[in-house]
Amino acid sequence: MTSPETRRRRGQAHIVSFTNRPLVRNSACAIGALLTIVSATSARAAEPGGVPAEAAFVLDAPQLSEEPNMRGEVDASWEGAKRLQLDWDFAYQRDPRDQTAVYVAVDPRGIDVAFVAQADAITARSTRTTRGTASTTR
């Protein structure tokens, strides 16, 4: 990120009461009017939190009684998880070259996800996170 320049100009003191500035009043009125219009418009939109009838990708969270094993494998503790497929390559706008299955479940304490990825050559190198600290690797 480029460091910004800070300019200071000395001149006659110009004390302004912020709330009395015409620009602020006009801006507030304009924003208020815009929001009123938009709110009226959005009232006809889908109710927040609802799933549109035409939605193509809907996942009903399967509930597990306890957290499945986190050992880098999908074992019997993952029974009941919902299986999905990553079946689209966004970059090339086509079917993916490699298969990837995703198992998703919810337990009492959180969300559990397992990715099973086919790869003819695994070239993972990064062991450092954005914060510069090591990650858990088991």
Binding site: Q63, G72, V116, A117
Partner: protein
């Protein structure tokens, strides 16, 4: 592999939890730029496939009982520049396009006793971060000193929190590593003070903008205050933030309110920033509205603002206005903007710069991706390697402009099995005049880049760029460039850039050479050797060098250490936008070490010397952070 979650729906906070085949994990969230929660990841490689398992605790998410969540699952294959995904749509603009993400229903089950407890706990627990910094140095470095500070986050609803801070650390120690050992995953923002990381997040890109010149609020320019108080939150379709701080002979305050309708096709934002310094007051009030036609990804926007205060000597020249329109699709964007920025429009703790696109500089990254796509040719990632030794490849401060800009970018993705994976074409045209109707910015740049199946990337850029310098002349700052890279976008890139062209009152040639290798699974060796050779007209060559070598090692238990040598030497070329020749050079050598240890609720960093300074006296900084309650930005 990445799991994207929006527990609050399309207008809620966004979370991304990622991990690779080695179990390396990282997370991001719009809750805070310092979001670094504890979540479990384990990975295992088994022949021709691998498994990554992750557990995301409810405790690190803001769950507001909103109803259906939005969710997406993705896998990035760097070797082929592929992005596999679960939910997809023809109008999708990115893998994490929330409008085209899937729906995740009944996540918090009404029949589960434990989940009912989660649902009842509508307000997250408060958190307090106490940090202490100690400096041990020579008398020239300030001797021995220490300070203690604290930052508190007190949620009052699921989406809103009150924040306060006393004597926050402003050393920026967390950011130093990027100077010594830059990583392929640099910190996305420079602000690491928790208070400003949260209250300032909404001010980053607050309004729609093309070839954006205006940074309304950059909290990194605000010196660490003695105390500050603020509020930040999302409630329904509104997001807001505000803070007020008191420093030494300085007071800053800022407010922002942003609205998005549920379909995110309409938005409006109002901002106010102000600063009071001895003998001066400044303020700015920009307001923006934008609209997107979802079916076609066409967009349009308008922004207007005024500055006020003692810095304004002519109110008629203290305005900022622009209108823009364009189209954004996954691999294509085209946009045009008409813009006017008055001479006296100065946002406190902000900046007004016009991005200049010189030779070895940036291929505009697809706006739809917000930049950072692994498909972007190597030249676009040049900015991830900070060029410390000059302002080249950056931007020039420019107010008092009126004119237009056009920006186009087209990426062709062929096949993950082909010899050439993708080709990107980009072009930028900008023409601005000042209040005296004299041309002061003229940019014409064309760029092309390609990535091969063997992970080799090449890029070329050519164009002219003229700026009106302080003495009134209109001078070129051209840099025709070529770049080549191998394994760009991975943790072990090797690349080189060369650029040359007429520059100010002379000719400039620049080289950037960088390599990262991994001697072991948990270590990295980084080397970079750059030089800039500037020949003023009628004079001899002046050269400036940047050299750095660093080694870092990771240890079990979330600990790491890095040691690096960083040297700059020689005479710098004129700063971008000026023709002033430096009369003296320098030769500065820094030895820097850093260790980081993170336990369950603590974090400890030690480093010697401040690598952001060209010359320092020997010193050691020790920072210790203890968290009460949720840790690290959650």
């Amino acid at each position: 592999m990445t799991t994207y979650l929006w527990p609050g729906g399309t207008n809620g906070y966004r979370y991304a939890f990622s991990a690779n085949a080695l179990g390396t994990r990282f997370a991001r969230s719009t809750v805070s730029s310092t979001f670094a929660p504890d979540f479990t990841v384990a990975a295992r490689i088994r022949g021709e496939y691998y498994v990554v398992t992750m557990h995301i605790p409810f405790a690190v998410l803001r769950i507001d009982g909103h109803g259906a969540w939005r969710v997406q699952f993705g896998r990035t294959v760097v070797k082929t520049r592929s992005d596999f995904e679960w939910a997809h749509s023809k109008r999708q603009t990115a893998v994490d396009d929330v409008l085209r993400a899937g729906y995740f229903t009944d996540v918090v089950s009404s029949t589960s006793k434990a989940h009912r407890a989660v649902a009842r706990t509508n307000v997250p627990a408060p958190s307090v971060q106490v940090d202490g910094v100690a400096r041990l140095g020579t008398l020239a470095a300030g001797g021995v000193a220490s300070r203690l500070g604290a930052t508190a986050n007190v949620p009052i609803t699921q989406g809103t929190a009150l924040l306060g801070t006393i004597d926050p650390d402003g050393s920026g120690i967390e950011t130093y590593q990027n100077l010594i050992a830059p990583t392929v995953f640099p910190l996305p923002v420079s602000e690491v003070r928790p208070f400003f990381a949260q209250t300032g997040a909404l001010f980053l890109n607050p309004v729609e903008c093309i070839l954006c010149p205006e940074n309304i609020l950059d909290t990194t320019t605000i010196p660490s205050p003695h105390d500050a108080f603020g509020v930040v939150g999302k409630e329904g379709t509104f997001a807001f933030s505000g803070f007020s701080d008191n420093g030494i002979a300085r007071h800053d305050d800022a407010q922002i309110v942003s609205y998005h309708n549920d379909a995110r096709s309409l938005s409006a934002t109002a901002i106010r920033t102000a600063a009071q310094l001895p003998g001066a007051t400044t303020g700015a009030v920009p307001t923006g509205v934008s609209a997107v036609k979802l079916r076609s990804n066409l967009f349009a926007y308008a922004t207007y603002g005024e500055a006020y205060g003692t810095v304004v000597t002519d109110r008629s020249r203290a305005t900022y206005g622009e209108v823009g329109a364009g189209i954004r699709e996954p691999q294509t964007f085209a946009e045009i903007v008409l813009r006017q920025i008055g001479r006296d429009f100065i946002a406190p703790a902000g900046s007004t710069v016009v991005p200049t696109l010189g030779g070895s500089g940036s291929v505009p990254q697809p706006v739809a991706r917000g930049g950072g796509s692994v498909s972007t040719p190597v030249a676009a990632r040049n900015g991830s390697v900070p060029i410390v030794i000059s302002g080249l490849n950056g931007s020039a401060s420019a107010t008092d402009i009126a004119g237009f800009g056009i920006n186009v970018n087209k990426q062709y993705n062929f096949s993950p099995n082909g010899r050439i994976l993708n080709v990107t074409l980009a072009g930028t045209l900008e023409r601005y005049r000042n209040a005296a109707h004299a041309r002061n910015i003229a940019t014409t740049v064309a760029q092309i880049g390609a990535t091969t199946h063997g992970n080799v990337s090449v890029s070329f850029s050519s164009g002219s760029q003229y700026l009106r310098v302080p003495d009134g002349r209109f001078r070129p700052f051209d840099q025709q460039g070529i770049g080549i890279g191998y394994l760009d976008g991975t943790a072990t890139p090797v690349d080189a850039f060369y650029s040359a062209g007429r520059y100010a009152d002379g000719f400039l040639r620049s080289w950037v050479r960088r390599a990262v290798v991994k001697p072991t699974t948990r270590s990295s060796l980084i080397a970079e050797f750059d030089d800039q050779r500037y020949r003023p007209d009628g004079s001899g060559v002046r050269t400036q060098y940047l050299q750095r070598v660093a080694y870092e090692e990771q240890f079990p238990g979330d600990s790491s250490a890095v040691i690096g040598i960083f040297r700059t030497a020689g005479i710098a070329p004129p700063t971008l936008g000026t023709t002033t020749l430096a009369t003296t050079g320098g030769d500065a050598l820094n030895l820097d070490t850093r260790t980081t240890t993170a336990a369950a609720a603590t974090k400890c960093m030690r480093r010697s010397v401040n690598p952001s300074l060209l010359a320092t006296s020997p010193q050691m900084l020790l920072k210790y952070i203890y968290y009460f309650g949720p840790v690290r930005g959650t």
